[in-house]
Symmetry: C2
Subunit: 324 residues, 2 copies
């Protein structure tokens, strides 16, 4: 039996998944992300954790097909990370670094892109070969997969769905983490939905809503109130659906995928999310791409480790096809 | 010596290019498009014209590597056209039809996508492997190429840049050819620029402009007047640049290409087009994709025949790689 690792490097924790060559998850490990000193401990810590798992399970390095790593920044197709603000990283080769630390082959990608591969392989996107995975969390990430291949982009920025400009800059909404204004992320991320709703409630003091009583308004509050029939909350969910559906209609005009898979914290609200987004998607989409499917992501925080393992297994099977 | 054909099927004429295997254009032919009877003569006429060129040049079919055909409608990766309103076509296999009519292998694609391949191969996109070609003509077409491969899309609708929703529906602008409102094409095609400018002039009777004297306002008039310093015309060109630049910034968030190549009638205005569009692209683009290049298409009406020939030569070289 051969083995594979998927590592999902986040700003606070690093999650490692240990798989066999059939893609079965045998175990996971989590270690804190040490971002001090320009993030120089991150890959050594990750590598050490992987080597420890091998020792504990009595597995030889030669039985490991590879390590697939997702990092929270743009990654080029050759494995070079193009700055990672959260980790303090500049520009260097993630794959070469991990290979020299472990002696095991490595593949790397942007975390949202790698998570998208995971969802395609074992999650809400399984059965599709062309799909866009949209992750609605604190921010909005995305991954574009065409014929089973992740699109990296020339600067590692393919799938940066969250930074699609969706409005002319609005003073009240403020500045996006990317430095611009009017990004999709500012309206449909968990934070964005909460902000937009708070603003609306303050600007409409006459409208009755259960949300007004809350001292801190979260995205979950908005979806819960909408499910309970609160009119203002329903309006906010409708606006969310329109904004995201319209942006994805633009994405459909570019890549015309089979499916959109929606994940991240916001997607925990369930089918109300896909129902709303698909409703407006179909309203704004070009007719030939209007029948795309909408599904919920199913792997949660494990999408990244699955995607990492998939990158290795896919590359391995390509190699075998070429050799045979 | 082996030979290749590229055929660009338009609503009024069919253009055929005759190339040698080195990609040199040896000659072209043009025949009218007979759209009567559900367009049933279109492919027989095209095939007959190709066979005539072979006879006239004393070339055997076995010396022809293939025919690459662009058609004005969505085409799936297997060569199936998914309705072609201009030609009266329903759903059928373009490649199988041409192959049975000629006995020569055929590849097919959407005309704008095929033209994009042509521009990549021998035109304004040469040197780039990932690019989006935007054709600003009567309507707006597009083609998305990633790592040298055209993206077809599940319904043949990838690259339908012209139908990106860019505004909430505006009554004055009317309905797009696709049946929706608010499409990019309604603002930045040659017709769109002329319409938007006419509306602006009528709505602002106090603003002086040389354009007001014209009985019929064309896109060319607007660009000519802008180059001559007319303030209203400059404003219209600026609005055009902002609308297209912002839409392409959204495209950049999805596929992060090396270059945008701008062609079609509007691009004849020259570098003012790429200057304006790139200026606003950089304003709205996500930082990691903001340095994309902007170039003008150079092949004009020949882009489609070059792209057709390229599809065949590329497929052929793949076959040879597999066999060797």
């Amino acid at each position: 039996m051969k083995y594979v690792f998927g590592a999902d490097i986040g700003g606070t924790t690093i999650k490692i998944g240990f798989f066999n060559e059939n893609g079965e998850l045998l175990g996971t490990a989590e270690i804190p992300t040490r971002t001090e000193d320009g993030g120089k401990y991150v890959l050594p810590d990750t590598s050490e954790a992987i080597l420890r798992i091998l020792r504990e399970n009595g597995i030889e390095k030669c039985d490991v097909l590879g390590i697939g790593v997702g990092v929270p920044g743009p990654v080029l197709e050759d494995g070079t990370v193009n700055k990672c603000v959260n980790l303090g990283w500049g520009v260097f080769s993630v794959t070469e670094t991990v290979e020299s630390l472990t002696g095991i082959p490595c593949k790397a990608g942007n975390d949202a892109n790698v998570a998208a591969l995971g969802e395609m392989w074992k999650g809400g996107g399984s059965g599709y070969k062309s799909l866009v995975v949209v992750t609605l969390g604190t921010g909005v990430g995305g991954g574009v997969i065409i014929n089973g291949e992740m699109i990296y982009g020339k600067g590692g920025a393919a799938g940066e769905i969250g930074h699609i400009p969706v409005t002319e800059p609005e003073e009240a909404i403020g500045i996006c983490g990317c430095g611009k204004r009017g990004c999709l992320e500012q309206y449909v991320s968990a934070n964005g939905i909460a902000n937009v709703s708070s603003l609306y409630i303050n600007e409409h003091p006459d409208e009755e809503t259960s949300l007004r009583e809350l001292s801190i308004l979260t995205c979950k509050d908005v979806f819960d109130a909408a499910k309970a029939g609160d009119r203002v909350a329903c309006k906010m969910v409708d606006t969310f659906g329109r904004t995201l559906g319209r942006a994805l209609a633009a994405v459909g005009c570019v890549v015309d995928v089979e499916a959109f898979v929606i994940g991240g914290g916001v997607s925990k609200a369930g089918s109300i999310v896909t129902d709303m987004v698909s409703k407006y998607y179909r309203e704004y989409a070009f007719h030939a791409s209007a029948d795309a499917e909408f599904t919920l992501a199913t792997l949660g925080n494990n999408a990244g480790i699955y995607g990492g393992a998939y990158m290795v297994l896919k590359y391995q099977s390509l190699l075998e096809n070429i050799q045979s």
